[in-house]
Amino acid sequence: MTKPPYRHLLLLAGSMSLLWSIPGHALTDSERDQKLQESEARIQKLEMQLKNSQNAWRKTDRTLKESVSRLKINGFVTAGVSRATVDKETGNYRWKYLTKITDEWNWKSDSVAGVQFTYNIDPKWDATVQILSRFDDEFSNDTNLGVEWAFLAYRPNDKLAARFGRVRTPLYMFSEYLDVGFAYPWVRPPVEMYRVPFTFYDGVSVDYLLELGSWNLLTNLGIGSSEPGVVLDLQAKNVGTLNFNLNRDAWTLRTNYTRTKMESDDPKISTVQQGLDLLHTNGYTNQRYEMIGKNNLAQYLSYGAMYDDGTWQVIGEVGEIHWKDSLVLDGWSNYLSVGRRFGNFLPYAVYAHEYTPAKNDKKRQAVSEAALAYGADNPALAGLMQKLSNQVLAFTETQKSVTLGVRWDVSSRVATKLEVSRVFGFDKKGNHIGRFDPIENNQTVDTEVNYPHTGLKPQYVTSLVVNAVF
């Protein structure tokens, strides 16, 4: 505790009176007058200086306030721990879920921090940059910085907005703010739908807002291409995305269609491709199959609906990914989330599912069998062909999960969530088919590993996070 300032004043007054009471040496009247004048002049000078500096400060303050009001800084933080029940009793392997969640509590999967700067250049132009920081992987404490939004926006009127630069791909309802936990009810949007290889593109994105009575229709059209991504070096070229979002009071309905040419230079992919070409040239398959080569067309189509009246919150989405001329699986995904608010608590339940239509699976089954047959006929290549067969089958994402959780709004800018998911990511034989990956010697094992029949049962994934926005 510091002493109140009046104590100093009292002390000062005391010492002053002491000084006055000391009999000084005699001064003549003229000497005294001169001293008085000098003092007055000094005081006037000081007053002028004070005024000048006050004016200067006011001016700086005004300029500062103006640029501060033009610059908006917003941020979000999520700190969270999670753990999966995948146990260690599976030979040499440990397992992880969603690339970072292991059988030991760690805070690397969902922890993320972001800051966004928006500067209003003039009433029609503004510039926005959003920087994200998150952990690289579950093995180290290294973090990486990423820029997922960076654009110059032109808003000529209330209806139209054109953004030039890096924007997020609006594949699904929450894709554009996937990392802003405070903006959605769950720890993370259902992974069965939301874990896709490309989240942003560089290009042009145009919003057009149409008011239809009390309905709002927001149309978004975007074109561009992405940098090679973290997953298998996937690069989305010639991205085209069309989005309709219809909204009224508690209701939101949306649909998105996105098409892109996928390309990968990843050596793992090209090794697989060599094997597939070998099967075709030797007549074991009657057409040339590709995994991901050059220009594989991938199409995303989704529909979503949300009802949120402040008490009940119901969200559902269905999505399809269709790969043309590729052995990568077509995928379907859907989820339904139902929650009800009790004061600041929002308990919710989510069912999520992703799967592969059987038709496409037959195609891969045939390729797998062709590889095994080729291996049997050419014993020298048997090992390689076994690997190829496994690899072709490994590109599966089939998973079901049931999640129970509760969001608690601790304050108007802080929320905490506790969530337990029961995840079915293995089939009855114990084959890994979902979002689990094996780890061996602190390395994520490549897909060419022959998966052990672990006999694993449904796994439980528990997460506790705190979200904040400022």
Partner: protein, 158 residues
């Protein structure tokens, strides 16, 4: 058989999965004692020269959530009271059904997807009335007791 069952019951994660419904029930009970909002009436105000004389709750809600920039053809810029103000909390609950956290959650989605920023703010009813009365083309809200002749009331929310 016995050890197996024992293992099941003591597995903390499985136990927590079963315990969650109990947690929900607890949360439900807790909510019954949640604080109630202010009972005061709220006046939606504009500049006296505004060509608009009346508005609905829904129209006002749309303006404040940035879903619209006009009411019945009259262009209006919303002004908010600062966060933590009781009138503000009551206003949003009555017009949009949203709690303060839900309003921020809504704006987080808008802000971080580059779609928009929430309205500018006034610190209290007095500043709100001053701002609205000295700028045509703005819309604001205050406790009815703060209304004076310098502004026009276009809606009163009980």
């Amino acid at each position: 058989m016995t050890p197996h069952i024992f293992k099941r019951l003591t597995n903390p994660l499985r136990a927590s999965f079963l315990a969650l419904p109990l947690f929900y029930a607890g949360a439900g009970l807790f909510s019954m004692v949640a604080p109630s909002i202010a009972h005061a009436e709220i006046a939606i105000i504009t500049h006296p020269s505004a060509s608009l004389d009346a508005a609905s709750k829904e129209e006002v809600a749309r303006i404040y959530l940035g879903k619209s920039t006009q009411i019945q053809g009259t262009k209006l810029t919303p002004i908010d009271l600062i966060e933590g103000n009781k009138t503000r909390d009551a206003f949003y609950l009555k017009t949009t059904g949203k709690s303060p956290a839900q309003v921020n959650s809504y704006w987080s989605a808008q802000i971080f997807s580059g779609k928009g920023q929430p309205p500018e703010t006034a610190v209290d009813d007095i500043e709100m009335v001053q701002t609205i009365s000295s700028n045509s083309g703005q819309i604001g809200y205050v406790d009815v007791s703060a209304v004076n002749a310098s502004v026009k009331v276009i809606l009163t929310i009980p």
